[in-house]
């Protein structure tokens, strides 16, 4: 291999090749430049600005009043803030349940919709449909569906079968359950990705398993699951990051994190600190919070990849 590569570079066509390569590199940067521009201006810039703000005593955005550098004061204040820990705990519980729940639901439904059943296209459309409803609209819808008296559709249905109305937003546990229900209704996007992965599994593997006498459950467990394990990891990581940033559901469904602070998720806390009109905006503090959230996401993602190393099967031999 190495000798071959050297032979190629030492050939008289070297100059021509490299000029071609340079032209190609230039074209590459030209084509990718809109994305790079957008990334720097709309993502990297604000991220770095937030890092700087988190080290200052910024309150409101005020051009006449430049924020002063205060070092790690905001981070220190964060550790002493009870509400920070409360929202972190609520987010941890929410993430711990919602991510596995969503993945299991999406995976089972994808497997179901990978069978030969009549009306397959219609079913795939129906399961994906909630995903296209705008976030605030669907959150409002769920807050209506879950209304505590029997004027809420879900409580009415429950009382019809004798399960009595549940005060969804009155107890901290039921409030969390209602957020999880809303979230699991959104499994469509993960399901579509699973479905694509399942259809990429070579049929020959299933045939071989079938000849060996494996039943449907065995085929799912010993063929489908290992073959799509990289996609499960992908969905887990994406789900984790989205779940940690959850903001709309607690704001609208449980009415700003209620009851008390039972569903006061981190994203909502962060928003309140930065933009709430009841209290003075604390830009520096909120920036520190967002960086802490970013570091948590980063660490958990790295942990996911490390832990998955021995579990996930890569047909091509794996990344790196």
């Amino acid at each position: 291999m190495v000798a071959q590569a050297q032979a190629v570079t030492a050939s008289p066509r070297k100059r021509k090749r490299s000029s071609f390569a340079r032209a190609e590199t230039r074209a590459f940067y030209l084509f990718i430049s809109p994305w790079i521009f957008g990334f720097i201006v709309f993502s990297a810039g604000p991220i770095l600005a937030a890092a700087w703000f988190s080290l200052t005593n910024l309150t409101d955005i005020d051009i006449n009043h430049l924020p002063k550098f205060v070092g790690l004061e905001q981070y220190k204040a964060l550790l002493d803030d009870r509400l920070f820990w409360v929202s972190l705990k609520a987010t941890a519980i929410y993430t711990l349940v919602s991510v596995p729940l969503n993945i299991v639901a999406a995976l089972l439904m994808a497997t179901l919709l990978n069978q030969k059943i009549p009306g397959l296209r219609l079913f795939r459309t129906i399961y994906y449909m909630p995903t296209v409803v705008a976030g605030v609209a669907s959150a409002l819808l769920w807050s209506q569906l879950l209304r505590s008296d029997t004027s809420g559709l879900i409580n009415w249905l429950l009382s019809q079968v004798g399960l009595g109305p549940i005060d969804w937003f009155g107890s901290s546990n039921w409030a969390m359950v209602s957020l999880l229900m809303y979230n699991v209704w959104y499994f469509g996007s993960a399901m579509v990705i699973f479905l694509a992965a399942l259809q990429g599994v070579p049929t020959a593997l299933y045939e071989a398993a079938e000849i060996d006498g494996a039943n449907a459950v065995r085929r799912f467990w010993n063929v489908s699951l290992p073959m799509i394990s990289p996609v499960i990891l992908f969905n887990a990581v994406i789900g984790l990051i989205n779940s940690l940033q959850s903001f709309i559901p607690p704001l609208i469904i449980t009415n700003k994190g209620g009851p008390g602070f039972a569903t006061y998720l981190y994203g909502l806390n962060l928003f309140d600190r930065a933009f709430s009109d009841t209290q003075q905006g604390h830009g520096g503090y909120a920036a520190a919070m967002s960086w802490v959230l970013f570091l948590i996401s980063l660490v958990l993602t790295v942990v996911f990849f490390r832990v998955s190393r021995g579990i996930v099967y890569y047909e091509s031999g794996g990344p790196g």
């Binding site: 069978q115 079913f123 449909m129 000849i211």
Partner: protein, 94 residues
């Protein structure tokens, strides 16, 4: 190649001790079971969407009615018009 393997898959593979006929029957039962399961799931997924659409055509009184009104009567299509006329507070010009 893939069409070949597809064809092989649709023909039930003979398994030891199981007749081709009964295998085909279990396959049919499994498929009906999957279909029923998919239908149940679809109903659960569609109920909120149905509610979203139906609520859009109710008057504000029947939105809160006990028991819930499953089909709006009358259908208030004027809601769509008033949605178009709605202005958030911040855009109001005095």
């Amino acid at each position: 190649m893939s069409s070949q393997s597809q064809g092989a898959r649709s023909v039930a593979l003979p398994r030891a001790g199981v007749s081709l006929h009964s295998q085909r029957r279990t396959r049919l039962i499994a498929r009906s079971f999957y279909f029923i399961l998919a239908c149940l799931g679809a109903v659960v997924m569609i109920i909120p969407l149905y509610w979203l659409i139906v609520t859009a055509f109710k008057d504000s009184g029947s939105v809160f009615a006990v028991p819930p009104i499953l089909i709006p009567n009358p259908w208030l299509f004027s809601n769509i018009d008033s949605a178009g006329e709605f202005r958030p507070r911040s855009t109001e010009v005095s």
